[in-house]
Symmetry: D2
Subunit: 352 residues, 4 copies
């Protein structure tokens, strides 16, 4: 059973390769009556677009999204919503020299071992280009959430070893790194320049905050809300770790330190990250992901070719220095898709 | 859509409350012809049982598993395998005083908000007792994996702030904490005693190592192997974070530091944790989880009752000091269930 | 991917072999707050029990159902409901002589070809005994439907070539064949006796009527209500055909004859069987199934053994003459499970 | 949970409205390495196209299919295959007068009751145009089946009350009705003319024959092969009944008449239709569907408008006289999709 569908009630299937004709998503299960336009979806597409952000690649894709079905006179009809984004600026030829080589840190070797065949051009389906379809679908999920008072915001909290000193949400849109600490963002930009000059790349940490989520979302015991968020976020190519609330720090705390006391005014702290026993508790939902450095580096690396012969490789082409900040709308999309699905799952049982 | 089923091809549905009649699991999709006996499953059950391990609770459950269907003359038949474990030592009355109170750090409040009703006795379905069914099903998954040369081993790498100094797999079974560093295990046991005397509890970190996993498992783009492992592990009650390979450390590395070079003899390092682009690469699969301290503490805590009135609570009863080590077979079970499912998913496409 | 789960939101997984320890069902997704007792479920179990009805086998099974989880103080809690029915009167030894022989009209040969192994005792999982679990789960679905004003009633409309002349619903419980025409039922009983004396068996037709179903159930384009009903009913062992409303007769009509005119008072006729474009229209839902004669006949038949050698077979043991009437609660159960699932699916989208 | 996905391992999601921009399908789970071209898919598209066949509508759609993803150098890669068909000849304006009226026999009223909104143009998603996507996806399934020696052929066996007298498969392509009896086909064409002149429409019966299907496909107890075929076929708009093998006739037979005796050379007859206990037995699989007359008739009919006021309606526009023969490739597609899925499901378990 292949794995290109996410969600169970608000269900998204994505398709498309980096250098194929197009990428796209079909949403099955969006409720009827939701206002939806290409223009609104485009806003999120533009945030994810190549060429934006500090460490971003110069590939120029308009990333223009088209709604092919599922709406009528500006409203969703309850039928499947097909979203299409043509690939325009694919330079497939620049990948010809990679046809017989496995790039370190990439899925070249695993795709071949899995399928026995691969579309090597630009990483095929393993390319970050695939996330364009996630962002388009996520924009629809956000509309549904917005109508229900739920808001998802992602931002950079660390780039390499540089961490933010504050989380001023109003500063996020004021810098190219979507960083809630403008002063630190400037240091991060400097770091990117240094690393670019070293022909290297950078990782970091993104935090995703959800406000206004009602209590009761999440389906024990396997589809708990934190479990589903972990899957959603770990399914993004560059992510190597996910934590909720106190996360790995919780391992260092005692029960009396980690428990969030309840008071008539609500929880006194939020080390749970808004989720108890896999179900949202009405507080802010807080998740963080570890983003690995982009594996395409201009520096020379050791690898092997299809015949398992050792070769040296330098990856040119148009690559980002860090998946941050372009990964940020993708993180938002994955959290939004998870919450939209669980909102609908909860509606199925709550109205009896 | 409720969430008590895990997997898509090797599919497990669990049921049962802490203080109900029984807990159990039904496996649908186990291939025929696999040798299976209650005795073998029992081995894993015994490792998870109350009363074992350093910080464990004194609740005495025989946890005797019965196979009610799906086998014939010692072999699986391809039909559903029903596993049943009766609850014997449930002291439901000792929970009567908690009927109207929300325990901090527990799902009491979220279950009520979600379902409008709850079986408060012993935490109901939110109790760790639910994991008995996971371990039983996981033992079947391990049999399938074993037949395919795959082995899953979990062990303690940190208890509170005490970290192991080595990973000697042959030392794991030599101490009650399933710790691959006997000397450190002794320090951990001391720490447990101190914390117990403080009426508090402890968290820690468990690592799960998979050896012998073939390349090619994992289903991009949403059911990537790392995404599914993250969900599987995060679905365990006490887990607040999951990382694969270098995990959160990868955020601090550059691309040249983090990429695993390929050589004719294989990967030179394993910072990917055995997974590239969501597909196993044939190397060891390495995951780690952050385990929060058990929320049931004997110390007095602030909370509210059903009428949102402030109350003080001290949780007596029979509780563990740490989810470690009893969580260890549960972590193994969840990884085994994930891999068994993906092994079968890959078989579906690979034989054409 | 195995197939022992039915439904998507109100989801039932059944397990168990005819001569194994027990059969059972787990319902995941039943809404909380539904009154449920073993006693109520037992009523439907008793209607399906061996030994009841005109042509029924003398196997004596108490078919006592136990609820192992998912309820608290008489109400469902929203967690999985595990239903267990022990097998008591299994005479496995009487099947020993069939171990190496394929019974005509049975799944003996196909189970072996599919799984490479089979539990031959009493037909294993292919036995009609499996339907006990369906009836138990169906009783829960009926409770949910009842609370929403929906009622499902099945009855015999033909036994062999003897057809009912009327559909007097109040006569159904007045005869052992659940026939809405008592006079015809008497003729049917006579026919059963004749056929039994001939060492042969009989087929027939069952109609399933649903009253009170709200408009709007069914999920185009693949999970249309009629499509799902067809699957549900055809999944019953003895069923070889399913029709909705006018059914096969519709093939003979013209559009002007077949269309149901709409009037301010509702539809003027119901040749659609209550379903238009795969969605319930608020009218009665009418389905019919063709039930094949039971393949276990006492008459001598040609067949082959495991070595593909020709052999003669006479099937003794305790067998029904017709699947009617015991199939009737099974038909009701499958329709009820389908409608309960679709009722919940519709709730998921309708409340936004 | 919406219902626009068919299959579990070979999984197809369709989208698109009759008068929207396009219709399409995404196949997730097609094995890699299958030769696939737009040209081949087009062959089946052309058989379903408006304007072909005896009673067909004059709407002119090129129905040109485009493969947007999932193939590389003429081979499938194992990634999702996106198929797109633009709508060219949609005359939406000719539906304006129907905006406020419910057409008898159509889904107009049920779509509105379900979703609270509808795209009335050309029936929206309830239009037979939706089946273009099924046929495109079915063509891919046929390729997979063909590689495994399985062939699916559908043909007309009755139009209204005119039944074929023989099943000469080599005559099927010799007439516009895909009828295996050319002489009878001529009578059917005459009947169509008469009925057209009467401003009425016609139903009929289609048989779908599968040759070369290996034994072992089908997943008891709910996803039996006959159950899944029943769902697949009943999900086609015009179908009101489905039968397998002897079908409804089996209700009239005794066990000794209906059982297919086994001999060393195989089954002596095929009243089972190639399926025993829900699993293919290696024999031909035979299914038949009852096709209702097309509800769009030029004759005046009674109906109501949105305000539940009585109105008269005559449906002009470009409509077929019978869903036969255009439904024939759709029937083939649905059987092919079912078998491709079950072939893969069986591979998942059979290779251990």
């Amino acid at each position: 059973m292949a794995g290109n569908t996410f969600g169970t009630v608000f269900k998204v299937t994505t398709w498309g390769e980096s250098h194929g004709t197009a990428v796209g998503a079909t949403i099955d299960g969006c409720p009827p009556g939701l206002e939806l336009s290409e223009k609104e979806i485009q806003k999120d597409m533009d945030r994810r677009r190549p060429g934006t952000g500090g460490g971003a690649s110069p590939r120029k894709e308009p990333d223009k999204v088209e709604i092919l079905s599922g709406t009528y006179e500006g409203l969703t009809t309850g039928t499947p919503i097909s979203l299409l984004i043509y690939n325009k600026d694919a330079h497939s030829k620049s990948y010809n020299h990679l046809k017989n080589i496995f790039r370190p840190g990439h899925g070249d070797i695993t795709y071949l071992k899995k399928y026995g065949i691969r579309d090597h051009r630009g990483g095929g389906r393993a390319s970050a280009r695939e996330t364009a379809a996630r962002v388009a679908a996520g924009a629809v999920a956000k509309k549904l959430l917005g109508k229900n008072g739920v808001q998802v915001i992602a931002y950079t909290v660390a780039l390499g070893s540089i961490e933010v000193k504050k989380r001023a949400l109003d500063e996020i849109t004021g810098n190219r790194l979507f960083c809630p600490d403008t002063a630190t963002a400037a240091l991060m930009e400097e770091k990117i320049d240094t690393v670019r000059n070293n022909k290297d790349t950078l990782g970091g940490i993104v935090e995703i905050l959800t406000r206004g989520c009602p209590a009761g979302l999440g389906e024990p015991v396997f589809d708990k809300l934190d479990a589903e968020l972990a899957k959603a976020l770990m399914s993004i190519g560059a992510v190597k770790g996910v934590e909720i609330g106190a996360g790995f720090e919780a391992a260092l705390l005692t029960g009396s330190q980690n428990n969030d006391p309840l008071t008539p005014e609500g929880f006194k702290s939020n080390r749970s990250g808004g989720i108890l026993a896999g179900i949202s508790n009405g507080d802010d939902i807080v998740a963080r992901v570890a983003v690995k450095p982009i594996p395409s580096i201009a520096m020379e690396q050791e690898t092997v070719d299809l015949d398992n012969k050792p070769v040296k490789i330098k990856i040119g082409g148009r690559h980002d220095i860090s998946a941050i900040p372009r990964i940020i709308p993708v993180c938002e999309a994955m959290v939004a898709l998870t919450l939209a699905d669980h909102l609908m799952r909860q509606k199925a049982i709550s109205s009896f």
